[in-house]
Symmetry: C2
Subunit: 423 residues, 2 copies
Amino acid sequence: MKTSNLLLATQRENPSDAETISHKLMLKAGLIRQVASGIYNWLPLGVKVLRKVENIVRREMEKSGAQEILMPMVQPGELWKESGRWQQYGKELLIFEDRHDREFCLGPTHEEIITDLCRNEIRSHKQLPVIFYQIQTKFRDEIRPRFGVMRSREFIMKDAYSFDLSEQQMDDSYQSMRDAYVRIFNSLGLDYRIVKADSGAIGGADSEEFHVLADSGEDLLAFSDKSDYAINAELLIESKSDQDPRSLEGQDSPDGKGKLKLKRGIEVGHIFKLGRKYSESMKLTVQSENGNIYPEMGCYGIGISRIVAAAIEQNHDDKGIIWSKEISPYTTALVEINPKGEKNLKNLCNQIYTSLKEQGHEVLWDDRDQSAGVKFSDMELIGIPQMIIIGEKSFRENKVEFKMRGEDKIVSLIPDEVLNKIQ
Amino acid sequence: MKTSNLLLATQRENPSDAETISHKLMLKAGLIRQVASGIYNWLPLGVKVLRKVENIVRREMEKSGAQEILMPMVQPGELWKESGRWQQYGKELLIFEDRHDREFCLGPTHEEIITDLCRNEIRSHKQLPVIFYQIQTKFRDEIRPRFGVMRSREFIMKDAYSFDLSEQQMDDSYQSMRDAYVRIFNSLGLDYRIVKADSGAIGGADSEEFHVLADSGEDLLAFSDKSDYAINAELLIESKSDQDPRSLEGQDSPDGKGKLKLKRGIEVGHIFKLGRKYSESMKLTVQSENGNIYPEMGCYGIGISRIVAAAIEQNHDDKGIIWSKEISPYTTALVEINPKGEKNLKNLCNQIYTSLKEQGHEVLWDDRDQSAGVKFSDMELIGIPQMIIIGEKSFRENKVEFKMRGEDKIVSLIPDEVLNKIQ
């Protein structure tokens, strides 16, 4: 893609209404624009990141054997009344009537719909275990939406639901989703921790959260420097009836392995054993050899749009975003500095652009009639991990320059070498 | 995928509430389930088709240089008041208030949002021409939703919007979208016609519809048997002040090439020159050399979910759906008929399954403990275009059978041959 054909909506000024780094940078880099409180347009660069996150999530869900479905955003009130949540959910459930005065809500989650689907479609115990997932737009009428897409009203989730015949089988489904989540967050190239979401100390966790580590995170996490042990610091303090969570730093890890470290985290995933809450309240039963039974359910969420913001909270500097290669809108920026419009220089740009595209790289060629300074600032702001610079001086020496985002070092190479350098 | 791991929600009975073939078959084949009037769950087989349509549309939109964005489903009332459509649109616009009593609607279309986006982001004439598109869930509160996803309330659209400096430039954008649509409908493997949507006889059409031909189509189309000429028969009759559209059959085509034929069509795409309607009413201007001007706009829709139904209306028989290879949920059904559970037979199935998957084919292996009759019926109902049958008798002769959906002929082949046969 050439920048001359792209809506590169970068801004120099700091947006006054943005409190967090990711919100600021998503506005400045032109990933999103607010339409109304907590409701956003995703601009071309933003959508590209969103789609990459989506694709990684979909790939790993498929690998786990979960089946993709698509449930509606507009949900009938009756189902929510059946589960009891029509009253319980509170004002975050946006309720309205259609033209025939029938009650509906905008789905903030889909337990009711999936339970209804399964009570109609799943009859025999032979159909279990089963896991369904969807990637879909949700709405939660937050009283005070903030932090951009981090806590917006309209957002994109991957939600999955498992149905099992026994608690033991549910443990397997839970583990398979947990494994998929590990693969997803590894693929995203993010530093994360899996955090116990309840204080139950040992044995099968009933609920775990996936947190992306970032100084701005809402939750303080305590985790071992030697093992996978990680927990919300508040929960650990509770169970230790201590006072200040910060006092945990350096203490022995409760699992006996290593010392505790403290860092803040942003919750981007949640895996949860629901048990029979919905199968019982909505009367989902399957025939088994021991008569009709209520399946054990689990639910598994990933905030697709939230991950984009969390990745930025974790990876940025004073120049802008630093994307991992896996979710960057483009893997390579090709900066043409060609104020006199030299034909041969443009030809070289075109050659490198074409070769890289043929090798399967996603290249953003900054061909605008702008100063070198503006181009560098923009490419660094939008966070492309690799940059090739073709300027007049180096061109005359048959050289191009290469720079990694987040590093200061600029390497001078002959054009052929740079093709091998790009990953 | 093995059927034992898939929600294969096929039904034998004809659903009583479905009026059209596609609605019936989508229910019987287990592609969709109704949640509320005009609101559906997409089951695994349905989602697979939906994603394939989406991917073809996205690929060709990208090729055309259109930029993907994502606008919200929940839209603020103010923007619709600005354009004047808050009152005009009628009851199909579902309106509600959020918890702070602010007015919103569920977007049935996005002209207001995109115009607002562009008046904030597009400042200079150098940024034009530009085309934005999205693939997104929409809602239209139909008074009487019917025909399944053909006329549902919640549906998935690809909508695109072009912005140009002059009518001539808009003609180019329109043509580029028209070309992309031609590539899309060719790729979908559907028989379609591009139909003038207004009676303006000669010269640049301002609006054209893409119709999938099907006997059950709502519109009667008249088209030349020798040229691309095609028009809604009602429009042609109007301009000829004739009585019965059916009288057109066999008449000379108005473009002087060939004779008219009549067939029914289902509208699945619409390309439309909006002109300055929204840029003027919502005050979107760009600076040009001749001062500030209102851009010329075009809008371009494709009914993603509707295409799934239209494809079935066009391609089915009394046994069920007949998918084109391009959008079939799986390209190949592998039917294992193995009532005694012979290990070697299963091994051969596994070999063929694995080899085909390695070659990049999408195979559905029917490994269920069901009769041959049930398996054939299901695979034909869900419309997989190619079928490999591995039964006891042919297996003993070191043969497998191959059958194309929609054809009666069954070919007997040695296992290696069938691998080359699959496309």
